[in-house]
Amino acid sequence: MLGKSLKINKMIVNWSWREICFGQLWPVVVALTLIIASVVALSTLALRVEKVMTDHGRSLLAADLVFKSANPISTTLLEKTQQQGLIVSSQSQFQTMAFSEQKMQLVSVKSVESNYPLRGELNLTDQNQQLKHHVSPGELWLSARLFTLLDVEIGESIAIGDAQLNISGLIKDEPELIYNPFNSIPNLFIHHSDLDKTGAVQVGSRVNHRLFVNGSESALVMLQKETVLQAGESWVDQNKQGSTGGLIEKAKQYLSLTILMVILMAAVTLILTCLHYVRDRSETVSMLKSMGASRAWLRLWLSTQVFMMFVVAFVIGSFLGLILEFLLRLPLADILPEQLPSVGAQPFIFALVVALCIGLPALLIPLTRLLDAPAINVIQQQKINYTKKIWWLLLLPFSALLLFYGANKLVWMLLIGLLLLFVFLATLSYGLLKILAKLKWGPAFSLALSRINRSPRNSMMQLAALSGSLMLVALIWLIKSDLLGDWQQTIAPDVPNVFAVNISPEQRQGYLEQVDRLALPRSDAFAIIRGRITEVNEQSVSEHLGSKEELPHILQREINFTWAKELPVYNQLIEGQWTGEKTVSVEQKVAHDLDIKLGDSLTFEVNSQHFSATVNSLRSVQWQSMKPNFIFIFSEDVIIDLPATWMLSFRVEQAQGELVNQLARLYPTVSLLDFRSMGNKIQALLRQISWSLTGLASLGVVSGVLLIFTLLRLSLGERKREITLYRTLGASKKRINQTLWAEYGLLAISAGVVAAIAAEIILFSLMKWGFQLPTQLHPSMWLILPLLAVLIVLLSLSSVIKQLLKPLR
């Protein structure tokens, strides 16, 4: 018995193989392969980029995990880390005055242990330009600005608190960069063993203590779990901080969205090709049944085909996926380490699971219906009565979605929204076609319209598939464009990279002229007045916020106010107008956090002086644009009389370093914050990521267009019989030709319009709630999508028309 079924298998395997290579199965296999290839490629890439980003984040953090505290690190915590075999390094950070022979300056002191940093790079250069990476006892390393501010050289000695130390050299690069132009206090490194000598750490003095911790993921999680945090204590890991974090996060979101959309497109293809295959196959099944094939035999036959399709698709798809990943990775070569982090089997397993979740219902539901094709159909076409329903297979993709995205409301909103939107739009466009059909048209159009209206279910399917894939193509491209557009402000070649702060009102005019003389592109100068927001509508902010658990960050410290005649052009007005007296414009996210609305009256405090202003507008601000940006911008009359310093930002090329020194010498009291090397790094990173995204989006668009092309060809192929019938009834080639063009042309245009509406709505929601970027309309898409649809129809129709009009043998 076993031998028997095995022999049958051999023949069936042979047959299935032929079906996959030459038969109707290959579009199905292509769709499956596409799913596997894209999931393998994109998830491999995502995993790798993720790992690199994590490393990057950790090096900015100087460790895997940091414990921050206002009090010295407790011995219990230290013991716990020791028990768990973690590597630790302590740091104390405080501000104090540093004195040289001639000058004094407020400095930020970091006292570190010899093993600092646990992650990232510390580059120190001494007198002889020797590079060192760690701080040793007795050493003192200054940031570049301090040499000017204190007027000292390497080897000279300065006093830090009570300690007198000799300058060992210059800090070139350090981890723990905090990207904040207003954090203007220059820093220096001393060794932890010299901390006591400074006498800075006393009861009541403001010292920040940090414990850097490295170790295995599980040990770190355990440590955090076991530690009860006291007031003023917190854990920081790379997820919680990051200067480029926002942008990378968005790139990653885009990556996973693209995966989702490509999978959706492939799923559509898979379902349609399967339905097509089943329609084609039902005659064969009837024939096999008439020749005496049992259900068991047919089941074996079909399941062998399905199994083989999965195997073939998995092998080819994985291979293609790896090639694709390699190609997508090319533009990222510089940011990815040479030794790529290995990703293991995860992407392949993931791809297989995805393919099974989509493929099994898509294949098995229509295929099991095939089993019901009656034998009598070989001599008499009859309606098929379907006995068994295996719709429960649909639970597969849905439970998988639930498992993956269970908690992710956004994804569910997106999917449900998509569905509703689609039903609505499909009905709309169908109604449109109905109305069109009532109007007077030429014979070709009338015929086409009546054909569309005669088989509404079929037409709706076609319309849905066509507009769905067009919409996904549009989304893939436009999300990318909107994202990159947002980054453009950061990537543009003239983005400012040096900030000058602390300019006194008297120096302001002269300083601006000096910068202009050096021909450095600059921003306007902005007044800076430090203060707090105290009340909203005559109610203290905390009362106003009521039950919110945690007070927003900006309430915990002083922030920078400014006033302006006009709002900066690079801020986008979201609501309201920049007019009126005693008014203030508020950044939208802060406004949201503090529950501030247009027309609210806000009260502020600067140097214990109180004043109020009415909210006249809300703005969106791109903090990463490196331009001077403010949460609150007041109208002139509110704070013009308050004492202010001034700031501006300007662009200095890498080769123009001397100009910066020149400015520093001319205006020693003005603090210059040089972000050139950091800015360059971020710019390069973003530029590479945008290349990669563009490549990805192009691929997505190309495969989408190919998909639509294939679908149209399949749908046209199904017309063959009908067209032959028309021909036998005497319809001229010209008439058939015109009717086909009219029908598919109408289909294309309405699908294009539907897709444009849907894409616009989804794009708006995604940008607003998903990426939190400014939204915009895309008028060009309204033209391009219908045109693209017509173009694809044109291509697919002209590629099959000859064959369609050829008489059947």
């Binding site: 028997k4 024939m287 020749m291 259900r295 009598i376």
Partner: protein, 219 residues
């Protein structure tokens, strides 16, 4: 035996009371106008469908009382078909199409199947075309492959529903020659649905379906 179907919510009687016996080895033509119910009758005789009332006995089995699977088993063991539209599997070669019924039967001896198939293909004049796909064959050649396929299981009964309906006259004549020749050789019972009175004459008996009734044409 009667057969009626529900069509557009009303019952349509196609066969209204038909009764006859066909003996082993006979060749019988079923004639009638288009839509008379010839195909319906043939489908019932071959056990592809069930009658509304009455009973049908095929080779000593009351197939009208059997379920789908049991009837399929009988078909695979002792029935052969030739269809109007040939119904070859497009992705299989001529040889593979011919051996297919053997596999459905569970006869897995590849070498002997292939040998038999080659012999039959030679008989229908398609020697050397074994590896061709159906698309590489003309209509008449495809029907010849179908003939070879029908005879490979040495069926006790062969059903043919207008086997020449889609062929030109000359090709049709050739196919008919082959059909009768092979039928005679194997001593098969032949049930042939046809429009063609000349063709019907070559059968031993002719049944004419008219208005749901069946009458024997005495020739």
């Amino acid at each position: 035996m009667t057969k009626s179907v529900i069509s557009n919510d009303s019952e349509l009687s196609i066969l209204k009371g038909i009764s006859f016996t066909i003996n082993a080895g006979e060749s019988v033509a079923i004639m009638g106008t288009s839509g008379a119910g010839k195909s319906t009758l043939m489908g019932l005789l071959a056990g592809l469908d069930q009658p509304t009332s009455g009973s049908i006995t095929l080779l000593n089995s009351t197939i009208s009382e059997m379920d789908d699977e049991q009837r399929a088993k009988i078909r695979s063991e002792s029935v052969g078909f030739v269809f109007q539209d040939f119904l070859l599997i497009p992705s299989l070669t001529a040889l593979q199409n011919v051996t297919l019924p053997m596999l459905l039967r569970g006869n897995e001896d590849e070498t002997s199947n292939n040998k038999k198939a080659k012999q039959l293909l030679q008989e229908v004049g398609l020697a050397g075309r074994e590896t061709h796909l159906p698309t590489q064959l003309s209509g008449g050649e495809q029907q010849r492959v179908a003939l070879a396929r029908a005879f490979i299981t040495q069926p006790k009964v062969l059903f043919a529903d207008e086997p020449t309906g889609n062929l030109d006259q000359k090709t049709a004549a050739h196919i008919i020659e082959l059909l009768f020749e092979m039928n005679k050789e194997q001593g098969t019972t032949l049930i042939l649905v046809t429009h063609d009175a000349n063709l019907a004459k070559r059968c031993q008996r002719t049944l004419i379906i008219n208005d749901g009734q069946c009458q024997e044409n005495p020739c």
